[in-house]
Symmetry: D2
Subunit: 342 residues, 4 copies
């Protein structure tokens, strides 16, 4: 039994991660922590747990976790994650970071988009981007896994297969993404009060979302070619889920069949990516509370555009489910272990 | 007092139209009809009406309406509208048609997208497309006004000013639109049952929506140049509202300032279009239960794209509010008369 | 034109009040205030207002309002309202207070339930409880009108006619009430974050809600007999509306017909109370965005219980609509003036 | 491995049941059926299932199921269930019926409330009412288990312990219940269209719900004394969950402590009933997607009333979860087996 800890276990992604780890047959939870001064019974945050569960979330102590855990998940805000990660790495732990702190390869990009100094730039090279579908081998050996952002996951799974095979232009990509409210985190916020969100819908951070460089980086990496995206995010009046509608320009003479083949090939055998038949598109409901990414696609001949719709649960494939998938890879478990619940 | 009738007064747009006409200071409702065999008190459909309102929706009779009305609004399904319109026109009435039957100029387009024969093709030329911001003068003299579709209204208001001034490419336009559920009409439908829509979101009729040719037609007309759009629609878990995020390619050397100026110029003095400062974007809530179209825009230098977000209430600016705006123009009333309630 | 001011115009009830007053044909808004240091354009809070509206909400100044207004509406938190009311009364103004500060006749009750000292106990006697259906005459002469709470309004309209006629027991009344989220006010609150409310429902302040003594007081007053109620409140995942299901014990030998007659008699001619036929019950939708209270009732012979369901819009009949109704009475206007919009 | 079949597997309760059985470690699904003519892959109805699941729902054939299954779950409409049950019982199967057909002991009651003749009245005596907390022993030996209704489950768990101990009056019980929309079933229905339910709330079948006699029967059975309830149901704009607020009259001299003790005693060791500390009340969210019933209670001294709030997931503890709990009891498995997922 591997010994896991979750640092920052009270937020939406932390709670979701705990839910999975509790049921995971091959790991043991040895520490759950919070910045708060008081211990919190896990069953207060996950009412589906019966009263017999006596797991506690304790005030964070580096030493205590260091003594007990092999694998440390960080569900912390930016800045805090990078400092904490460094300490656990030095102590020989496997670190899976759900924050954005180690996702960007270039310090400059990080500092531009997140507006803080990076305290551990030497670790950026070391960190492996946790996209199992494209970096499985590296993840298997990484000590620091940068778990992808929710929007980037929905985006790159829709785009990479086409870009890698040179079927679409790399600088004419539009990602129109819509997210449920848990994506905004649990922090008290006037914008996420019920009366502001219900019966409402709007675009935010238009062409300025901090996930933009992360998306461009992974697309460029996979395509071996600079990629540029226009990325616009919207807030949906639902709790969970991201649906991204992606518009690409196909290269001349490329036909529907090749698009279709690219997706089939890329995701054959992938346990968590499902490609629908051409012209059939996913809904949030298809992936709610699952670790799946569902993809639908079509080609519009009139304009030469490829349209791909991608749907994930932002808290699972977009965060904690993917984090456990990465852990499974790293620890040599079957990749779906402990993740497939109904 | 002009005498108005609403044919098909029990659907969502019919009801909304009746609400406005009841409060309109210069018109009198002389007929409200339904295909149903039994009369229905209007106050059963509009509970906000007090018990003192004794207006009735009666079984449709052409003769009865012909005797009483000057202006006839058609809130009918396709096919039915074209036949009914022809009869009322022959009887000398002003017809404002909220269906799609007279919006497309080419019979061929209509028959391709709506999959029925057009029974009154000679009227297509005669019909004026009821976009007040662009065809005010023609509307003022039209006997047959084809009231625009809900999606097209949200779309053309976002695009025409830029296209008319040659600031953006006419064949590289993507409209990612999201609509509330009243847009699907009142017909019983498994897809619009609460448990299917709530906590859900998806794309439908991807690149195949029947409003596509309507959008392309008005853009082409206004730009005097063939326009092509990629148009994708989504279903939002809200009752009312359309928000469209529009991506255009600006022409070389065009700058933000020119985009901004185009919108200001185009809509200066327009009573129902509000342009936000650059970088500020509208939400559905801003236009809920109003006849406004709110527009926000920005330019993404990196990709050369102009991004415009447009929001309307699908039942008002997208249907019945605009229909009354057109009536006001046609009858020589101030354009906002009877439309501005809080 | 009477001159009105709204003190505390930025909360949910303040905004709703401004919406009505703007459209009211016989009053002029001369002041809208906030505790905030910066002025706020009204059109930022009420987007349905066109850009032409240049009303401003200004930082509160007693002197400025005193100079300009005849009627002062207070949409303030408890404590603050009582102090402000006293000053405006001394200055000869008509004060309509939407807070709870002057609703309870006994200082002791107020201090027990609101947990603060009352600073103007001498005004409690002077204040008239603004339930138009029962105190119309007194309201017509009052300088201080205590506008009823939202829950009490839904409750007393369902109960008083039966109690006044001695048809039901006065100490066996259960009010199971459900409210939309605007009832909780605009204050930032973890309990009203979207993810806490959506797909959720619960009872709160069970048998401990501060509106309990207000309900018992008006029932006792109207029945001339001590009334006791069990009152439980619940939070609904909707924006607006209160629906209360009220269970009473009928007195022996009382029959359905007498219950029915009591409601008909009590509300004959009432412009804002609608009684449904026996066995037909209202929904929130029937009263959404209206000043109506809709009532449905039945008698369960098996248990001898009368069941009444009452529905209001908490922001209108439950607050600002009723406040304007009270103003209309006080100023001698027709009672529905400016209130009936669709 | 016991062999199970679900007859009527495409409705909300059928699907939920299949979800549980698929994951149950000690049973094998040998048949899933529908009245429809075409087979349906289970993964089309439960998208959380991966593509590897090849279970099919087949057109119903009694012979096929008879050959393969030991335990037959009926998720059928009334009338149909009683006929089908009889056939499977004759064939020696264990039948767990989720319909109302075998819940009422008296034919007369059934025929009055369900308005059809009962085709198998001799089985009514044989059937055991599947309330594990009160009839565990009988369930363990029953061949025909009548799985309780959703509302009755929420109701009797809140009332029986107090009634059994003589702490409350048996004829002064009010149950004000609120249910999510899945409770109405999957049948196409104007009342459950999104635009009718969203932002709405209302009471229905006031004092006339067909679950009333079921509730009175189990209360009377457990209390050994005739019980009468006033039962009112409401439709909540959520997908899942029932919350019932129950008002009882305590007997003289009974104190809070005894109420509290009754609940603790009654449910000590119960795996699926959780009693909160006095004055703390459950929300739907606490039990969403679980088989728990959560209970909160208080005593209002002023009126002598006991107030109990009870929350369940209508599809789990209110239907399919409880059905599997009953199966576990019948087959001698630990009662929670296969039911506790997060």
């Amino acid at each position: 039994m591997n010994k896991c800890a979750v640092i920052g276990a009270t937020g939406y992604t932390g709670i979701e991660l705990v839910k999975i780890l509790i049921q995971h047959p091959s790991v043991e939870i040895v520490g759950l922590t919070t910045r708060q001064k008081q211990s919190i019974p896990v069953r207060d945050l996950i009412p589906a747990l019966g009263p017999s569960c006596d797991l506690m979330i304790e005030t964070y102590s580096f030493e205590a976790i260091k003594r007990k855990a092999d694998v440390v998940f960080l569900c912390l805000p930016h800045t805090e994650a990078m400092e904490t990660a460094e300490k656990f790495l030095k102590a020989g732990k496997i670190v899976i970071d759900l924050s954005a702190d180690f996702r960007l390869k270039k310090v400059k990009d990080y500092e531009k988009w997140y507006k803080v100094r990076h305290s551990a730039p030497h670790l950026l090279k070391k960190a492996v981007y946790g996209a199992p579908e494209f970096f499985r081998k590296d993840i298997g050996q990484a000590d620091l896994i940068a778990n992808p952002g929710c929007y980037p996951t929905a985006a790159y799974l829709a785009v990479v297969p086409l870009l890698q095979r040179g079927l679409v232009e790399s600088e004419d990509i539009i990602i129109d993404a819509k997210s449920g409210v848990t994506g905004a985190g649990k922090k008290l916020n006037p914008a996420t009060q019920f009366c502001e969100v219900h019966e409402n819908f709007y675009a935010y951070k238009v062409a300025q979302h901090q996930h933009t460089p992360e998306i461009e980086q992974i697309l460029s990496d996979c395509a071996q070619k600079a990629a540029k995206v226009t990325f616009v995010t919207h807030l949906l009046p639902v709790r969970r889920g991201i649906l991204a509608t992606v518009y690409m320009k196909k290269k001349k003479n490329i036909r529907l069949q090749e698009i279709s083949k690219a997706f089939r090939e890329a995701y054959r055998g992938e346990p968590f990516v499902r490609v629908k038949p051409e012209g059939v598109f996913p809904s949030l409901k298809d992936v709610e509370r699952t670790n799946f990414c569902d993809l639908g696609f079509t080609v519009e001949e009139k304009t030469g555009r490829v349209i791909v719709v991608s749907a994930i649960d932002n808290l699972l494939k977009g965060a904690s489910g993917q984090a456990v998938q990465n852990m499974n890879i790293r620890l040599g478990f079957p990749e779906t272990k402990g993740i497939c619940s109904l």
